[in-house]
Every structure is written in structure tokens, then in C-alpha cells.
Amino acid sequence: MLTYAVKRIGLGLLILVFVMVTMYAAVFLVPGDPATVALGPRATPELKRLLTERMGLDQPVWWQIIEFFRNALTGNLGYDVWSNRPVSTLVLEALPNTLILGTTALMTALILGVPLGCLAVVKRGTLADHLIGVLSVAVIAVPSFVVAIYSLLLFAVTLRWLPAIGAGEAGDIGSQVRALILPALAIALGWIGYISRMVRASMMEVMNEPHIRTARSFGLPEWKIVSKYALRIAIIPTISLVAVGLGGILSSAVFVEAVFSRPGIGKLITDAVNTRNYPVVMGTVLMMTAIYVSITIAADLLIARLDPRVRDVFRG
């Protein structure tokens, strides 16, 4: 198990390096000198040179990458080109908002999606099953930013029940929760559908396995068979799906934070891209990738914990 964990973490670090190299290559390949784009056509050559130096763009790309990682190891992600504040501070300021948003959305999706999937299995073939199926596909089909815009129009603009922008007043939990509802819903809605479909599909497969017949032949109640004997197995592909989909959740957070003008990583990165604030883009991407990679590793370890057969494959 430990070897497995170490292997996975090593692989995760490799992914981080790969992503950052790709990011640098992308910056390098984009036409136009970032300093010129940032400062506009009327900037003096001295100013341009100064900015280029400050962004480290006068160095060769490979050197920039090495430099970036050397600094990152000491917790220094570079400085915001415009405000000169450390990128790590900016990221750490924005991160909690995004984490709260993502976690709330994910939890909502799991809390509603898993039972809906189970319900569809227990009531398979009935109207309830079909209804859950149709609704799931419907919500999967709607992109989160569409849900964001329409729910904003309906609940914030027309009905005025919930705030339209921001993350709520600092220190006022009530207003923070109210500001969280619409963005979290916008992200979660499609995931409720995904998860309920996934749980239903994998559970239907599990319910045909002989060990379920064994459990039945011992007269175990159907709810116990579904919630203990089948769900323990059926949840495994769902965990993988959620872990992989987390990238999707983070990227919908970018849109949703933009729609709701909600401070967070998503908004930070959109603003930074618009102003060609490369150190901020790099720092944020590194952070997002690190989060994504750690959650994928956590999911794999969780699967190994839930499925003893997987655990044994990686023991040794």
C-alpha cells in the first residue's frame, strides 16, 4: 500500500512538471511579445525591457522553467506583474472561496446523486426509474454556465431571493451561504445527473452478480443488499468518475465565478489571462494542477481502501 502511495505521488509530481512545461511552451508559442501586449503599442522600449525582465521573459524558456520550479519549491510562485504582490498570496486568498464552492457542489451532487441512483435500482423499470433517467440526462445536457445565467436571472434578478454577485459579506456566514447557493447549484446540477446514472449503471451490473443472489438466498432485506452489498462495489467506478470529473468541476468554477463575479481561483485566472499576467497564470495553474493531482491520488487510495482486490494488486 505504501509503495503504491509513493508511486502514485511520484507520478503526480511528474504530471505537475509536464503541465508546467506545456504551459511555458504555450506562452512561448503565442505570437506577440507579452510585454508589448501588456503595455500597449505606445510603451517606451525601456519600460518594455523592464517588464520583460521582471517577468523573466528575457531568459531562455528552459531556464524559466527551472527557475519557476526552484522558486516554487521554496513557496515562491513569483510576483503579480501589476500589483507586485506575491502570487502565492493571491492564490491563497482566492483558493478558499473556490474550494468551498467546489466542495459544496460536489457534496450536493453526491448526496443527491447516489441515493437517486440507488432509488432507480430499487424501483427499476417503474415510472420513478424512468423519470430519474430522463431528468438525469436533461441536467447532464445543460452546461453549467447556462444554469448559472438562468438561475441568476430567475432567483436573483426576477425573484430577488438570492444575491446575484460576490461571495457574501466577510464574517457573515448567513450571507456567505446565500451567495453560495446559486453558483454551487450551477456546478452541481449536471453532476447529480452524472452520478445518478453512473451509480445506477454500475449497480445494475452488480445486482446480477452471483453474490447478490447469495445475499438474497439468506433472506437479507433488499435495502441492505442495495446499500451495503451492492453499493460498496458500485460506488467504486463513481469515485473514479468524480475524481476525473473534478477537472471539469474546477473548470466550470471558472465560468461560474465569472458569471457571479465571485472571487476565487476561476476569477483570478480569467483576469490574469485577460491582462497577460503570466506569473499569476502560471502560479494558479500550478496550484489547480496540484489540487487536481492530489485529489486523483486520494481517490485511487480510497478505491484501494474500499476494494481489497485492488489493495492486493498494489501490495508487494
Binding site: E209, P210, H211, R213, T214, A215, R216, S217, F218, G219, L220, P221, K224, K228, Y229, R232, I233, L306, D307, P308, R309, D312
Partner: protein, 321 residues
């Protein structure tokens, strides 16, 4: 509770998109406490349907006629709640494939504790003790370690022992072993047969052993029912069936048993033809199309049940003479 099992005129039909499959037709069967009953026949003869009906596990698309009486209860007339109450309490099933019979992500101990859920009177610790005792009885000594194991950590033979222990844990009056050795290799098979023989000495309920392996049946059973295409074609005590078989199908089946050959044969004998389609059955005797002794009435009239002795009965036109 120990009680006799009486199956009367039992028919099971599956509704499928391709029409109705008449998997079991007019089956009669009797088993007294302490008896071991064998059910034998080739694949698709209805053995599994019969067992599934006895264990109250038929799927939703099955419709049942006739009666299965266990003691004073008619199993066919019970609602789902009462059926469930019987399963794992009065009636226990040992499945075919020990490799897949247990939940792969729960420990053996966890599952065996759950399987005793009808015992509301005892706690978890007592249930564990009962498991340890029962595992010892089926020849597994290090019970504590085994209880902490997951199914895949046990060998096939060991898993089948656990499956038998699980069934016995519920103190069933009716123990059904559905092809208990089919998925095992020959050595394991011998061990499991030996175990079942040991167990039957102190067990006083009804045991039903289903197999297409004649050796298993001969070793274990008191009485045998031979099934063909969803019907019982011959029944009798084990000696009568193995030494004085009257139905051409039983005789053909015995002739095909490789264990009976004393020399190497060029080709193994087979029964020519194949099982009739259960959606379109022949009008007369179901075996007539494959029967070597078929004569005029066979394809036209269903055969009568001929009682040869108190225990030996055969459905065959040829047995009347």
C-alpha cells in the same frame, strides 16, 4: 424445524420476449427429514429452476402452478415478506460457484454475521463464536484469520467449505446444494463430497443435491430424481436408479458416465440429438425424438407414470409392459 417437503404438480413458466418457456412441467417430489435427495439431468433440464423455486428465488417473469409444501406451509402461496423470512432461516442454498458466491469487498466474517440476521436473540460476539464453531466443523481451523479474510484470499475449495458453513449456520430444515462441486477440481470435489457425507450424519433436515455428475449423486443421495426437459422422468432410491434404471433416458445417461468405463474407448458414448425447445414441446413423450426404444404411442401420447415399487416410478410407455 424439520419437516417434509412435498412438491405437487409444480410447473414453472418464464415469460420471455420470444414466448413463454415452460421450464418445469408437472413435477412431483417428496423428501422426508433426514433424507438426501439427488436431482440429476443434463444442462437445461430444469434442475436449476426447480432449485430456484424451492429456494423462493424465482425471477419476476416466472409464473408458478402447483404447490411446494414444506411442513404446513405452502411456499408458492407466500408473499415476498414471508418468503424472505424463510430464506436463510428454514431454507438455505449452497450455490454453484464458490468463486463468485461471496461479496468481494466484504470480509468473510462480516458476511457470515449478516447471514445470521434472523437470529435476533444473539449478539455479534455469539454470532462470531457460532461462525468459529461451524468453520471448525467444515474443516477450517484458523477461524479468526479466515473471518478477517476477503473471499479472494481463500482457495476455491475453502470458499465452498465456507459456503456450506454459511448455509448450516442458519440451522435450515431444508438445505439445497446446487451443483456444489461443479466449479471445483477433482481433488476438491472429493473433499467436499467427503465433507457433505460427514455432515449428513448429524443433520436431520432435508438435503437436496443437484448435479449433472452421477458420481456425486451416487456418493451422497438416498433417493434420486432424474429430470429431462423440465419433467421428472424417473425417480427411485439410489440403488434402483443406478442398478435397475427403467427409463431409456436414465439408462443412456448412465451409459455416458465416463467413470463407468473400465477401458479406454475410442469415442465416448453420447445421447444423440439435443433437448427439445421448451417453447415448442413435442406432443407425446418429451424424450421420444432421441429415444432408441421409441414405439407407436411415444410421439403421440404423453407417457403414464408407472409405479414399479413403493419408491421407484418411471414415466415411460415402454415400462408398462
Amino acid at each position: 424445524m424439520t419437516a417434509s417437503l412435498t412438491v405437487e404438480n409444480l410447473s414453472v413458466r418464464y415469460r420471455t420476449p420470444h414466448g413463454s418457456v415452460h421450464a418445469l412441467r408437472h413435477v412431483n417430489m417428496e423428501a422426508r427429514p433426514g433424507e438426501v435427495i439427488g436431482i440429476v439431468g443434463e444442462s437445461g433440464c430444469g434442475k436449476s429452476t426447480l432449485v430456484t423455486a424451492l429456494a423462493n428465488l424465482l425471477p419476476a417473469n416466472a409464473s408458478v402452478d402447483g404447490s411446494i409444501r414444506y411442513g404446513a406451509l405452502d411456499l408458492t402461496g407466500l408473499d415476498e415478506r414471508h418468503r424472505r423470512a424463510l430464506r436463510g432461516d428454514e431454507i438455505a442454498l449452497v450455490g454453484q460457484d464458490p468463486m463468485t458466491a461471496f461479496n468481494p469487498v466484504l470480509t468473510i466474517g462480516d458476511q457470515l454475521i449478516d447471514f445470521q440476521h434472523h437470529r435476533k436473540d444473539i449478539g455479534r460476539a455469539d454470532k462470531k463464536n457460532r461462525i468459529a464453531d461451524m468453520l471448525a466443523k467444515v474443516g477450517i481451523s484458523d477461524a479468526d484469520r479466515r473471518m478477517a479474510n476477503y473471499p479472494h484470499e481463500l482457495s476455491g475449495g475453502m470458499r465452498q467449505r465456507v459456503a456450506i458453513a454459511a448455509a448450516l449456520l442458519t440451522d435450515p430444515g431444508l438445505l439445497i446444494a446446487d451443483e456444489p462441486t461443479t466449479a471445483l477440481d477433482v481433488t476438491m470435489e472429493a473433499q467436499i463430497i467427503h465433507l457433505l457425507r460427514e455432515l449428513r450424519r448429524e443433520y436431520n433436515g432435508v438435503i437436496i443435491v443437484v448435479s449433472h455428475h452421477l458420481g456425486v449423486i451416487a456418493e451422497l443421495c438416498d433417493r434420486v430424481y432424474v429430470m429431462y426437459a423440465g419433467e421428472v422422468v424417473e425417480s427411485g432410491d439410489v440403488d434402483a436408479i443406478f442398478h435397475d434404471a427403467r427409463h431409456p433416458y436414465t439408462r443412456a445417461l448412465l451409459a455416458c458416465d465416463p467413470a463407468r468405463f473400465h477401458e479406454r474407448l475410442e469415442r465416448l458414448p453420447t445421447i444423440p440429438g439435443s433437448l427439445p425447445s421448451l417453447t415448442q414441446l413435442p406432443v407425446g413423450c418429451v424424450y421420444a425424438p432421441r429415444c432408441a426404444d421409441c414405439f407407436e404411442p411415444c410421439p403421440v401420447h404423453p407417457p403414464p407414470v408407472v409405479r414399479l415399487s413403493a419408491d421407484h416410478a418411471v414415466s415411460c410407455h415402454g415400462a408398462r409392459a
